[in-house]
Amino acid sequence: MLIEPVSIHAQKIREGKIELGNFFSKILREIKRIQEEYNPFITIVEKSRIENEKGKLAGIIVSVKDNICTEGIRTTAGSLILQNYIPPFDATVVERVKKEGGVIIGKTCMDEFGFGTFSVNCAYGIPKNPYDKERSCGGSSGGAACIAALADFPHIAIAESTGGSISCPAAFCGVVGITPTYGRVSRWGLIDYANSLDKIGVIGKCVEDVALGLSIIGGYDEKDSTSLNIPEEDFMRYLNENIEKVKIAIPKEYFENVDDEIKERVWDGIKKLEGEGAVYEEVSLPTTKYVIPTYYIIAVSEASTNLAKFCGIRYGLHLPLEGNFNEYFSKVRSEGFGKEAKRRIILGTYARMAGFRDAYYLRAMKVRTKIISDFKKVFKKFDVIISPTMPVLPPKFDEIEKLKPIEVYMMDILTVGPNLAGIPMISVPCGFVKGLPVGMHIMADHLEEKKCLKVAYAFEKVKK
């Protein structure tokens, strides 16, 4: 399938070459058809509007992961506890998209609050893999990757990653997903999973699309105190840069316990890059064995405080006011939260309790700094790190049901490291195994999205 970058479509809209009314109604029909078959959406916006016909995203269809607030449009974060929640404000990224003429078409399925790797923890239906309906799209931005893969209209998906929730579904659905440096994109309006780990990013059909999307949504926002006050970047200008002499690090730990055929595809990809002039060398990231417990302890600790606000008082699910406060909110939370949410709240609360705090939460914070310094050491000598995105092929739903929670958590082994470090990363499709997509993960140092993008773009070109 020939992929046309969405920017071409935007240009046509700016030049007035497309009849908008017809265009939107056609797309809505198409979306509803996809929704019937694959269920990528939680909410579809019937009356879409284009606010700027001259913008950089003019007329481009944009789906938004349902943990990102959209004013006037139901936002659930995939959970029953927000089943009728309509935010009174737009997230900054949504404002930016609208300002540039992007058309918000719907909110995509996700694991509740981001808790999951397969989007099976979504209270509004599970999105199905475009390549095999019995398999998972990945998670937690499963719906976003699903629609990105299936849309045959110009579309990008705004998604979010805490431990790999952009890279994983991008890999499983055979599309491109970029997770920027932590702080590059404002989190104002993002329903928090873990504040020190959440990043909003873009999923699309090709590298140029995600570069365009990221250029629009990125930038300093004074409403978010963790937003980096750095000049905005137009990431499109780095795409065509030469990758000769680009130094690629191959971390040996990231090739252990990975399906052989997946490794083969990724190595094919690395060799192709070598053919374009890049050089590679094996390195070691010795703290890799600690990334899963470090990630999960920090993430669930923060999450357990972030989810405390859902108690049926000011918004979201509420029940008849009976009993005292404790009885009331316990009932609301028991009914509103899914199993995985409850599991993580309990784990997170435990890890923060006096007596355990030192051993778990504070310890994990210390180990995190060591993990980050491992990456920094590598980036002193290398431009990018490349590895497989996921250790397995998209699993079947019935296989997932048999997995123990800890086995599910281990699936994130290749993505939580860079997510903990807050470095930028991009997953690009690099082939198929048994008809299922495989993703190659390209990571770079903080604020070096341009390196990820130019390598990814070069790979995309040479792959053809």
């Binding site: 990102i68 607030c69 936002t75 974060a77 927000l82 929640y85 935010p87 009174p88 404000f89 997230a91 989190r187 104002w188 309006g189 993002l190 329903i191 928090d192 873990a194 504040n195 020190s196 004074e222 409403k223 978010d224 105190s225 963790t226 600790s301 923060e302 357990s304 405080t305 405390a308 606000k309 859902f310 108690c311 008082i313 000011r314 918004y315 406060f325 404790n326 909110f329 609360t349 923060r352 309790m353 006096a354 705090r357 939460y361 914070m365």
Partner: protein, 476 residues
């Protein structure tokens, strides 16, 4: 029995906006929940943003309390479920507070300050019904949610309730002089007290507003604990509530273990670096602290130290009023005396502070000038002040309306005295017999008759003369 008392004081800071959002801190005339936004309501997706002015104020308070300021500080989440918490966690400071290890002296005693930090105020709970124990339901008003608080924690260095009150009065004066706090705002200072008898368990009394209540609450609690001891019973470690009407403390909940707040860093907020430059510039521009002001009053206005202390520490507004009057009226001794005695008495009687009254600099100075010029007596002035504070009418207007000007014409005075002597023959006879008291009686009668419009000293002079003259006129 030896008593140990420690305080946790929460003070609302007078910044323009709340601690983490741009909502106003002035919500006096607003409907409930009108002064809110997604941040202080804890809406999903909202993020806090630190109000720098609050940090400035916090640092100033720490400096005034002789604390060591942290070089780096950050915020933590104190997690617990309660209806007044919009996020079910409070953003506060735990591991590294803004400042620590300070002190404040009361008399010769040093009270150690353990820590000073910033945190957000929760919402206000309104118990519908009588009070916290009998209310059928609770209403929540988030106007207050997110107001910046500075929390000051002392070591348990207090040994009696009087020391506590002295400390709080001094602290209140310092905070008002720093212009970070307004004591007339309801609920602007709330205090939790920890109190134990020697060797006994610690009892916490929560959320007391106001100094008078603190002394009362502590006195009751000490007696309660002493009684338990005498009966051979143990004092339970618990949290109690003070009921102002009954003057009793009663149990709220058992404090068996420290409540587990599961503190984590608030990773929505970056670490705050407090440079020496920042601290120094605040120190340089800090308003005059009360102890310095007292020194200056002694120097500049030649006031006795004790009076300067009363003027400064009783109420900053009073000291401000003094200084403003001092610009137009130069008899500082008389000015300060009148302010701390009669004026203050009137204000206290009405239960208001001077800025809430109708007293103005010009008219007050005018009143004192009238005394200087002999137009009215001091006694009369005392009466006039009462009406002045009551109605706000200028003293000269009151004097006009009530015809209170002193009678100074000697001839007129003689006339009145003659009438009084004629009406009070018995007293005259008594005076002649040698009873000194009779003289005072007669003077009193003259005052009565003239509505106190004659200077008693003048009466005494003239009436003596008249009595002597009268003496010489023997009845035929």
């Amino acid at each position: 029995m030896k008593v140990k008392i420690g305080l946790e004081i929460h003070v609302q800071l007078l910044t323009k906006s709340k601690l983490f959002c741009s909502c106003s801190t002035n919500y006096e005339n607003k409907e409930p929940n009108e002064n809110t936004c997604p941040i202080c309501l804890g809406f999903p997706g909202s993020k806090p943003k630190v109000n720098k002015k609050a940090l400035d104020f916090g640092i100033m308070v720490a400096l005034a309390l002789n604390c060591k300021i942290a070089e780096k500080t950050f915020f933590s989440r104190k997690s617990y479920f309660y209806p007044d918490m919009s996020k079910n966690y409070q953003i506060t400071q735990y591991e590294i507070p803004l400042a620590k290890n300070g002190f404040l002296e009361i008399g010769k005693k040093k009270i150690r300050i353990r820590r000073v930090h910033l945190e957000e105020d929760p919402a206000k709970l309104i118990h519908v019904g009588k009070d916290i124990t009998s209310a059928q339901h609770v209403l929540i008003d988030y106007n207050r949610s997110g107001i910046p608080l500075v929390e000051i924690v002392t070591e348990p260095d207090f040994e009696n309730p009087r020391e506590v009150r002295e400390f709080l009065e001094k602290l209140s004066s310092i905070l008002e002089h720093l212009e970070v706090y307004d004591s007339s705002k309801e609920g602007s200072m709330r205090i939790d007290v920890n109190i134990s008898l020697e060797g006994g368990e610690r009892v916490e009394i929560k959320n007391i507003s106001g100094f008078k209540r603190i002394e009362k609450a502590l006195m009751y609690e000490i007696v309660r604990q002493e009684n338990l001891r005498r009966l051979g019973l143990k004092v339970k470690r618990e949290t109690r509530h003070f009921d102002e009407r009954s003057g009793l403390t009663f149990s709220l909940r058992k404090k068996e273990v420290e409540e587990d707040y599961g503190y984590i860093f608030d990773t929505d907020l970056p670490v705050v670096e407090i440079s020496k430059g920042w601290v120094n510039s605040l120190a340089k521009s800090m308003p005059e602290l009360p102890h310095k002001r007292v020194e200056r009053f002694v120097e500049e206005f030649n006031l006795p130290k004790e009076r300067a202390k009363v003027l400064v520490y009783t109420d900053k507004q009073l000291a401000d009023f003094f200084e403003k009057c001092a610009e137009v009226y130069k008899n500082y001794e008389r000015l300060s005396k009148w302010i701390v005695t009669d004026l203050l008495k009137c204000l206290n009687w009405h239960g208001i502070r001077i800025n809430q009254s109708k007293v103005k600099v010009e008219s007050f100075a005018e009143l004192l000038k009238l005394i200087d010029e002999g137009e009215i007596t001091e006694r009369l002035a005392k009466e006039i002040i009462k009406e002045y504070v009551n109605t706000g009418k200028s003293p000269s207007k009151i004097i006009e309306e009530k015809g209170l000007r002193l009678i100074r014409d000697e001839k007129e005075i003689e006339k009145v005295i003659k009438i009084v002597l004629a009406e009070n023959r018995k007293a005259v006879k008594d005076y002649r017999k040698g009873e000194r008291k009779a003289l005072n009686f007669l003077i009193g009668k003259v005052l009565q008759k003239t509505n106190k419009r004659i200077d008693p000293k003048v009466i005494r002079k003239i009436i003596k003369k008249a009595l002597n003259e009268d003496c010489t006129k023997k009845p035929r």
